[in-house]
């Protein structure tokens, strides 16, 4: 496998390519933290939710973006099922992934023994079929919100239709963006993936909406109560392997940069950071005032962009 990405355009800007031929995975040192008691409760609740989802839905899948939350989900799944992962994982590949993330993906498939489904909206990229008139969809031709919609949401709809899944286990967190504050653990979606956030079913006492009509599906949001910081503390507590890109590298201007959130390379920017350990990241988060997705161009493109994407069925 070629693990030299120095020529790849994703690294043409500030953020440098990784050292050639170093596996793109970071094994954190497992550290018992004194301030992590609350993680036990979060873990127990997430495992409970994952097991509920697995029990109630016949055809279930776990979308996996390869990011930190996704990797925590894999970890919790293995804890829930005695080391096993009893459902397929899904990667919606926009074809704009950082190449080292694809390398990470290959590594993780082997390491965790994943049954991974990779989905690309090929027609959109090639400008075929329904896209014949519009031509290929890509960041060089189309605005970022449309690209995200076509290459993520529509791709997801396609793969859902192919597989008839009735539930998706996702890693949405309430602290991620304001539209998620009112989310439920088990969140029903219509055939068109719509989320009726104004009229959501009641949910309390750990009893959920555990069935849906044919064609509809339920999002099971197993990390809803976690914060970004909890995720990092848990990764550290458990020693969960994650992509290298979360840690600071010396950029082309001499400053250090890392990614807080990983997305398509044409629209993802790193943040300035010295954090090259998990402790460093946790420290940094305690002092940050910007939001996690600040680095993503897509969110700024339009006011309320996230809300629009959400209502249309994006994760």
């Amino acid at each position: 496998m070629n693990l030299d990405f120095r020529e790849h355009p994703a690294y043409a800007k500030l953020y440098p390519a990784p050292v050639p031929n170093v596996p793109p995975v970071f094994f954190p040192e497992t550290i018992a933290r004194g301030d992590a008691a609350h993680l036990d409760a979060l873990e127990a609740q997430s495992i409970f939710l994952i097991r509920e989802a697995f029990h109630h839905f016949k055809k279930i899948c776990m979308p996996w973006s390869m990011g930190k939350d996704s990797n925590v989900l894999i970890w919790l799944t293995r804890k829930a099922f005695g080391g096993h992962i009893p459902y397929p994982l899904l990667h919606i590949d926009t074809t704009y992934e950082f190449p080292e993330m694809i390398a990470y993906r290959d590594w993780a498939v082997e390491y965790h023994g994943l049954n991974l489904i990779v989905k690309i909206n090929e027609d959109a990229r090639a400008g075929r079929g329904a896209y014949a008139e519009r031509g290929p969809i890509g960041y060089d031709t189309t605005d970022p919100v449309t690209v995200t919609h076509e290459l993520k949401t529509v791709a997801l709809q396609q793969v859902m239709a192919e597989n008839q899944w009735d539930a998706l286990i996702t890693g949405i967190r309430r602290d991620e963006d304001p539209t998620r504050a009112k989310e439920r653990y088990f969140s029903p979606r219509t055939k068109d993936f719509e989320w009726d956030y104004k009229d959501q079913p009641p949910e309390f006492w750990n009893q959920f909406t555990t069935s849906c009509a044919p064609g509809e599906h339920v999002r099971v949001q197993a990390l809803l109560d976690w914060t970004e910081r909890d995720i990092w503390m848990y990764i550290q507590k458990e020693g969960i392997p994650i992509p290298q890109m979360y840690f600071a590298r010396k950029g082309k201007d001499g400053n250090k940069y890392r990614f807080r959130s990983l997305g398509c390379w044409p629209i993802s920017g790193p943040v300035e950071s010295e954090a090259d350990t998990i402790d460093g990241i946790i420290e940094e988060l305690a002092n940050t005032k910007t939001s996690e997705r600040a680095g993503r161009a897509q969110d700024h493109h339009e006011r309320n962009a996230m809300q629009k994407l959400r209502a249309k069925g994006f994760m």
């Binding site: 609740q45 029903p188 309390f204 009509a213």
Partner: protein
């Protein structure tokens, strides 16, 4: 890193009558605890001045929510504030329409509540209603803010009056406020700061402020000290292990413990606690999601509730509960719905409504409604098909609460009270008898080798009730089961000889039959009744009578089409009815209300008596069976 960050955020819900000052108090708390973005207050004040409007603290909350909705600068997590002690998160800020639904979804996860009462208005409808809902949700950490004290000249008498009245109200619902605090949310008095740079207008109050009180509240404790409750969530066989998975809701367990699985009386010994990527584990406690294996193969599935043999849960198919309903449609008596309690899920119905409570007065609503409607709170008796394992809510809140479904969604919830615990430990020797106390149903059942039950046949004249009843009785008898038929022949001539066929007498007839059947079942007999019993209401009454005595009741519809019954006409009754010689004959000149959800329907129009009896036997033997292990 500061120590505050390390503490779990306490979840607080703010409730109270509209306009009593919730938003103002929240705004003021944000302001006084400096939890707002820099410059926010000045910006708002300037905006108000420009508009010639008086600045209101409630604007701060509105602005926060607005910005949140607009997604400009404020992160959701900003609907939190910090005191010197720890961070708080406000769940479900006030002001939306679908109040009950959202309040319950939010407040059900609250650790504490602030309930506001405006001093100038005193206790109002929602002050009571919200208090009552907090009690239903089991929220015990409540501080009452007696707000707008500035409007009553900070008079202590006014405050004392509210304290007296509201304390009395709370007492009726078994609640107690941790503290009443006289407050002026607008001026900040007793909100978060003691020194506001002005003389204290209420020198007569030296107690804690609102935030002082919040700081005394505790995050929920896991129920480790209570008896073990481990609901089985699922059973996994991904490899050679058979893992029983679930979350321990209360108590603790360890390798080597003997568990009893309810409903039923199967027992098993814990062989291991399975972990992945963690050190070996020999014990686990409340709050943990675990997987265990047992030393022997047992047929256990989701819905079984594991406990230790002492302090086992209640097991019954009938119980009393306080429920709230927020479904889209009404829930009527006898209407089939689903009940979920921990991982148990059973068909259920309300068999009687004791009272529908106006939560603001605690008075029963006048009139005798046969249903509960959206936003009702009621005391009801519920029956489930099959057995349910649970606790009374006052003994274990997590095992004493359930939800009822409205279609696919949760439509309401309830808490169970007044159930009786029975001793489920297994008698070790055949010769042990308790010298004190009554003979328990379990002991009777164990002696007989089966449970008692009421098997209620209903159907048209000529449908085959008596024939089926007699054949069933014979089969049961041959199987060694105590059984007896109640029918017109042995009841009408004796017990009910003073009853005729008027509508009132028919009702009374059925009531007496139900009472006798219940007593017989209680004595351990499978009592079969064979009466037309044409009215839904009467049969429901019969079910309630049995159910309230803890007796299983099975309704069997002996269903043959009217034409066939009329053709058969063994006693020539239909002929007489047609000619008018007999009046009000069921099926001809009086209605027959077929059961909506009988346990069994036997189609005697097109199957033989033997087939019908076999169908009933298959169903019944499962249910009256006493587990072999349970023997005296």
């Amino acid at each position: 890193m500061t120590s505050i960050d390390q503490t779990r955020r306490l979840r607080v819900v703010f409730v109270g009558h509209v306009d009593h000052g919730k938003s103002t108090l929240i705004g003021r708390i944000f302001y006084d605890t400096k939890s707002l973005p820099d410059g926010k207050v000045e910006q708002m004040q300037a905006a108000c001045a420009a508009e010639n409007m008086e600045f209101e603290y409630s604007f701060l909350l509105d602005a926060l929510l607005e910005e949140q909705a607009q997604n400009i600068t404020i992160d959701t997590t900003q609907i939190q504030f910090k005191t010197a002690k720890r961070p708080y998160v406000i769940i479900d800020a006030p002001g939306h329409k679908e109040f009950l639904k959202n309040m319950i979804t939010g407040a059900a996860s609250a650790d504490a509540a602030v309930l506001l009462i405006a001093a100038n208005e005193g206790i109002r409808e929602q002050s009571r209603r919200h208090g009552y809902l907090l009690s239903l949700l089991g929220i015990k950490q409540v501080v009452v803010a007696v707000n707008k004290m500035d409007l009553v000249d900070y008079k202590q008498e006014v405050f004392d009056q509210v304290v007296r009245d509201y304390t009395a109200f709370l007492k009726e619902i078994g609640m107690e406020a941790r503290q009443f605090v006289p407050v002026s949310a607008r001026n900040g008095t007793n909100v978060a700061l003691r020194d506001l740079g002005v003389p204290n207008p209420m020198p007569w109050y030296s107690g804690p402020t609102i935030t002082d009180m919040l700081d005394t509240f505790e995050p929920p404790k896991s129920l480790t000290e209570l008896p073990l409750r481990f609901p089985i969530q699922d059973v996994y066989r991904f490899d050679d292990r058979r893992i029983f998975a679930g979350r321990i809701e209360a108590g603790s367990l360890k390798v080597g413990d003997t568990l009893i699985f309810s409903p039923g009386s199967k027992t098993g010994v814990i062989k291991s606690i399975e972990v992945w990527n963690a050190p070996e584990k020999t014990s686990a406690k409340a709050g943990e999601s675990v997987g265990i294996t047992l030393t022997e193969q047992l047929f256990i599935e989701r819905g079984h509730l594991a406990s230790h043999q002492t302090d086992a849960p209640i097991e019954s198919n009938c119980f009393k509960a306080r429920v709230f309903w927020m479904g889209k449609s009404n829930l009527a008596i006898g209407q089939r719905t689903k009940l979920k309690l921990t991982t148990q899920e059973l068909d259920a119905e309300i068999v009687s409504i004791e009272r529908i409570i106006d939560a603001s007065t605690l008075e029963a609503l006048p009139g005798d409604r046969g249903y509960i409607a959206r936003n009702d709170v009621a005391e009801v008796t519920i029956q489930v098909r099959g057995a349910l394992a649970f606790d009374n809510a006052d003994r274990n809140a997590l095992l004493g609460r359930f939800v009822l479904l409205d279609g696919r969604q949760v439509g309401g919830g309830g808490i169970i009270f007044g159930g009786t615990y029975s001793d489920r430990t297994q008698p070790k020797s055949a010769n042990i008898f308790w010298s004190e106390g009554n003979v328990t149903p379990e002991q009777r059942y164990a002696r007989n080798g089966h449970k008692g039950a009421v098997v209620w046949l209903t159907g048209l004249s000529g449908s085959g009730k008596s024939t089926v009843a007699r054949a069933l009785e014979r089969e049961l008898f041959n199987l060694g089961i105590q059984t007896y038929i109640l029918d017109g022949d042995n009841i009408r001539h004796g017990l009910n000889s003073n009853l005729g066929f008027s509508p009132e007498d028919r009702v009374e007839n059925i009531r007496r039959v139900a009472e006798v059947a219940k007593l017989m079942a209680g004595a351990g007999v499978v009592a079969i009744t064979a009466f037309i019993s044409p009215y839904q209401a009467d049969r429901r009454k019969a079910r309630t009578i049995a159910c309230e005595a803890g007796v299983d009741f099975y309704e069997i519809h002996v269903a043959a089409p009217l034409e066939i019954c009329e053709q058969r006409d063994p006693k020539g009754l239909y002929k007489k009815a047609r000619t008018g010689e007999i009046k009000e004959f069921t099926g001809i000149s009086a209605p027959y209300e077929a059961p909506e959800s009988p346990e069994i329907t036997v189609a005697t129009g097109n199957q033989s008596v033997a087939e019908s009896v076999a169908q009933i036997l298959v169903f019944l033997r499962q249910r009256i069976k006493v587990d072999a292990e349970f023997e005296i």
